[in-house]
Subunit: 605 residues, 2 copies
């Protein structure tokens, strides 16, 4: 009997191997057009630092060609190897792979269409050659076996570092803001051996959570929220109570050995061009100290620069009034009349807590709001990637992060719209109740729902954990309209309604993060950097033109050595890797030619 | 063409399925002899709580039959199912499986010989039905969605529990000793919803490590040392420095929400027969409090009750003298003469630290000592189960624990002897150097090395991390002999040698853990419980008769409601599960008929 011709056991594997082989050969030929020809007419290549020293998505063969014309001469990509068995679904072959460049190792994910062309490609740097993290089989020994008169113990060395860094020696990186973002990035940099100080105004790591209203729990579930290196244990609650996440951040900071300056406020920063370093003046628990880092990272939080409204008459109000970020919690307002201006997350949370504490609460809705109940959001929105079910299906946190990162922002709304169609259907009675109560709903400008609103503008929604039922039941009173003025005794609306109030909470949101640059470095620098966050989707609060990536986040800005880090716990975890690699490369003098440098279209004042 | 008879793709699977099927059928038939017939003439069934409510190894068909005659009428075992693909090596088929009993679920590991008979069987309870741990898909929600006027936050509820447990309400379990053992058990019990207080004399969790000499690092590697639920991160050092493990234990205690009473000393304990509870008087930071737990666990550490020697003349010595457990570290002894009595771990560590600090150090060796360098011990002794290589081979920590537990103590030395043969060979020059320096070596009574010494007597060895080279080089002076007396100025040996000393350290080891029972409950109770630790191997410091398991550890003792917990981090991690399940069953009133109750052969005074 004749031996049958060898046919690949797995057609998906054959497709993936062929594409990767062609891709590597085309890259090696140095011919950008040949590489571009491997991409579908509508296609996306997202690169996280590996090819572009940037976070950058290029589109279609023309975009691929343009990018490679800039970078191919120096990147030296090779060694593209499948890292697990490719799969096929609906005519699309999905393949995970690893690769390397001249200076780094990377991983990627490609989706190949029925014509054998790439539809989406993700390439991401994982480590710099020669600067691999000391983990797993590279972990430190800890004990120093042998004899060494006068040797210092771990505790002595750690104490010495904490006492001298920033005083006798200067950090490479200064991170302003010691919340989850600063802490995650600090952990990455510590691993990479980049001397770093984190400054934080609060007394303890985790206080940015602890100091918020007492009933607050995370709105994202545990599977989405892991920090780098040390995942939450399997008994961690789905939605972590704020004090519990505060404790976790505090212990994480300690066991990760971060140089965390609590009770420290940055006062001013300027780039010293002669010395090639920043000069940052901080107040550390009453003592003024000047730090001279090479790189300055703002990790101050995208919801940290309050938008304080300027309503006529605010100065004459006799009761308590404050921005939602300053709200002390409901305990002092039992039996009092409270008016909350706004109808997004903070407004709902504060209204519910005030009602639970026995206050008479009115919410003033000034514009439509998108509402999704937490349960269906978890089930339909996150469940496939971040859940026990996902883990059981082999979708680890890292894999979920990579899958998420592989979906191009340009078409992400197309994946989101069906999720919200489903939610609208299953929760029809809930939404009917809200509308009956007079609540003005929206689903985003293109019905793409919550996550797109988050990425585009970071606001405009409420993840319902109970307040909506209070609105439906009339327990939280609802009033739609615009504020005309604040009076001595309450809020006057444009329709003439007067809402008497002992307390007014302005749940009026937050400004762009470059506001922090204005405060610290100056308005000129803030304008040079421009607006931070958003995709350029040309939807409300996210003006065009299209950016392709989140503005100024985790990547080079128009001010060299000035960076932004932040976002939710998922983003802090995943993108801290790419920012840390960029910072490490600069510390080590590895050339980092940036392709597709962020342009500035909006000052974001 | 005729269809071929179905042959199993995997012969190992067929063997395993056949044995498990026969085993389940024989158990179901209620016929102990039928089950016993499935075991090889020389065979071992180790049960961890699932069949015996005990930790118990029975031997050979006769032992199996005897055990089943006692337990088969009430255990109701069934549902034996392979949990992964069985393997075959050297004629032995190894199979992992799960099963259940009337009240619990379990897991197991069987090794089947070429005749199709069981050679070793391990059965272990994993959870009690109806009392599954709230983990993974059963984890708590954290947030309580909905509306609840006056609701308490997580922080408020946690503070309330901490303020009332032991004051207004009584714990089910009191754990005496808040080191790694008490903490690991406390975490398990918290998960199982068993109200528990841990009392610890030190100021903070982790102080039992922090307060030891400054150069101390763990002698076991990180892969062996994980605590339950929250493994060390991948960047954790191989050998953790003592202060770093101290910090980890402190944060672990906090994030696991243990009720940990620091600065608290137990003063006395008595069983109140009328009330069916213990009455334990503790001093909590100066305040005397009486606790009334149902169960009392000694987790005071197997190396915590010092053997203070009684040499003639100790009272007249003019310098500093103390037991090794009281040694403050070397800093005060630069340029001084130090004599250390003993030649095991503590003696070596203290000698090396004193030498590094500039003291003149003499070690007095009174009996032979077993020495293994740390590197080969890791490579040959632990590497197959606890290492990066093991993890890469799919041996998770849990799997390694189970494999380890599946090797019967009776024949464990047979697996150990070749390891030490190998080490003796590769480190021949090292041992030659030690002997040339006059060091008296041994390899255990049957050449089975370090781990058997640990299990049998908990002493008699040194894991070399550098001190041996100091002995070889004569930097630590060595003197063999017996102490005749302590003089005003030093140590006088039986051969007439006088060793002048400014400091004498008695590195003379520790007594049996029932010494703690004597202190707290009384000598009568201590004698009733008997010696703790050891296997009954009839080797030095471990008198026979053969016990089959470690005496009195993690299982019912002759005093009901009195338990011992401890051992190294591996044992604390793994056996805390079985002890916690026994305690939970008693809390819930689940019948726990004990087979093979611990007998007492030695008072262990």
């Amino acid at each position: 009997m004749e031996r049958p011709a060898e046919v690949p056991a797995n057609a998906a594997r054959a497709t993936a191997e062929r594409w990767l082989g062609d891709f590597e050969a085309a890259l090696a030929s140095g011919n950008p057009q040949a590489v571009a020809d491997l991409f579908a007419p509508t296609s996306f290549w997202r690169d996280l630092v590996a090819f572009t020293w940037n976070l950058k998505t290029v589109e279609n063969p023309a975009g691929v060609k343009d990018m490679l014309e800039s970078v191919l001469s120096h990147v030296a990509p090779k060694g593209f190897t499948l890292s697990e068995e490719p799969t096929e679904e609906g005519g699309i072959v999905t393949a995970w792979f690893t690769f390397e460049t001249g200076v780094a190792r990377g991983e990627g994910l490609v989706r190949i269409n029925a014509e054998g062309k790439a539809w989406t490609l993700l390439t991401a740097m994982t480590e710099l050659k020669g600067f691999e993290e000391p983990m797993r089989d590279r972990r430190p020994m800890g004990a120093e076996h042998g004899q060494d008169p006068g040797r210092k113990s771990w505790a002595e060395k750690r104490a010495e570092e904490a006492a001298t860094l920033g005083i006798e020696t200067q950090p490479q990186v200064l991170i302003i803001g010691g919340g989850q973002g600063g802490i995650a990035l600090g952990a990455r940099l510590r691993q990479l051996g980049v001397p770093t100080i984190i400054v934080e105004k609060n007394e303890r790591p985790g206080d940015s959570w602890r100091k918020r209203y007492k009933s607050l729990c995370l709105h994202d579930p545990v599977w989405y929220d892991h920090l780098p290196y040390l995942p939450f244990p399997p008994n961690w609650p789905v939605f972590s109570p704020k004090d519990k996440i505060g404790d976790w951040l505090e212990m994480y900071t300690r066991v990760m050995e971060l140089n965390y300056w609590a009770k420290t406020t940055a006062k001013s920063a300027r780039w010293d061009d002669a010395k090639g370093e920043w000069e940052v003046v901080v107040d550390r628990d009453g003592e003024e100290i000047t730090l001279r880092p090479k790189e300055l990272v703002f990790a101050t939080g995208m919801s940290a620069k309050p938008n304080i409204p300027n309503f006529p008459g605010m100065d004459r109000f006799k009761g308590d009034q404050h921005h939602s970020s300053q709200h002390p919690g409901p305990d002092a307002y039992k039996g009092k009349k409270a008016v909350v201006i706004g109808s997004n997350n903070s407004a709902h949370d504060i209204c519910a807590a005030l009602w639970e504490a026995g206050a008479d609460v009115t919410m003033v809705q000034r514009s439509t709001t998108h509402i999704v109940r937490s349960d269906p959001l978890m089930e339909y929105g996150l469940g496939a990637l971040y859940s026990e079910k996902a883990l059981a299906n082999g979708i680890t946190t890292h894999k979920a992060d990579m899958i998420f990162a592989s979906l191009p922002y340009r078409i992400l709304h197309e994946f989101q719209i069906p999720i919200y169609d489903k939610i609208r259907e299953v929760d029809a009675a809930f939404y009917e109740g809200l509308e009956k109560a007079g609540f003005q709903l929206d689903w985003g400008p293109d019905n793409s729902g919550l996550f797109m609103k988050y990425l585009r503008r970071g606001s405009g929604y409420y993840i319902d954990v109970g307040a909506s039922q209070l609105v439906i039941d009339g327990k939280i009173k609802l009033k739609a309209g615009q504020v005309e003025a604040i009076t001595e005794t309450g809020v006057k609306l444009a329709d003439g309604t007067e809402l008497p109030a002992d307390l007014i909470v302005y749940a009026t949101g937050y400004g762009s993060m470059n506001g922090w640059v204005a405060d610290l470095v100056g308005q000129e620098a803030a304008d040079k950097v421009g607006k931070v966050w958003g995709l350029g989707s040309d939807t409300p609060k996210d003006p065009g033109p299209w950016e392709g990536e989140q503005r100024n986040m985790w990547k080079p800005t128009q001010i060299e050595h000035l960076w932004f880090h932040g976002g939710n716990l998922h983003q802090s975890r995943h993108y801290s890797l790419y920012l840390a690699l960029q910072l490490k490369a600069r510390q080590e003098g590895i050339p980092t030619p940036v392709y597709g440098q962020q342009e500035v279209h909006h000052t974001g004042r």
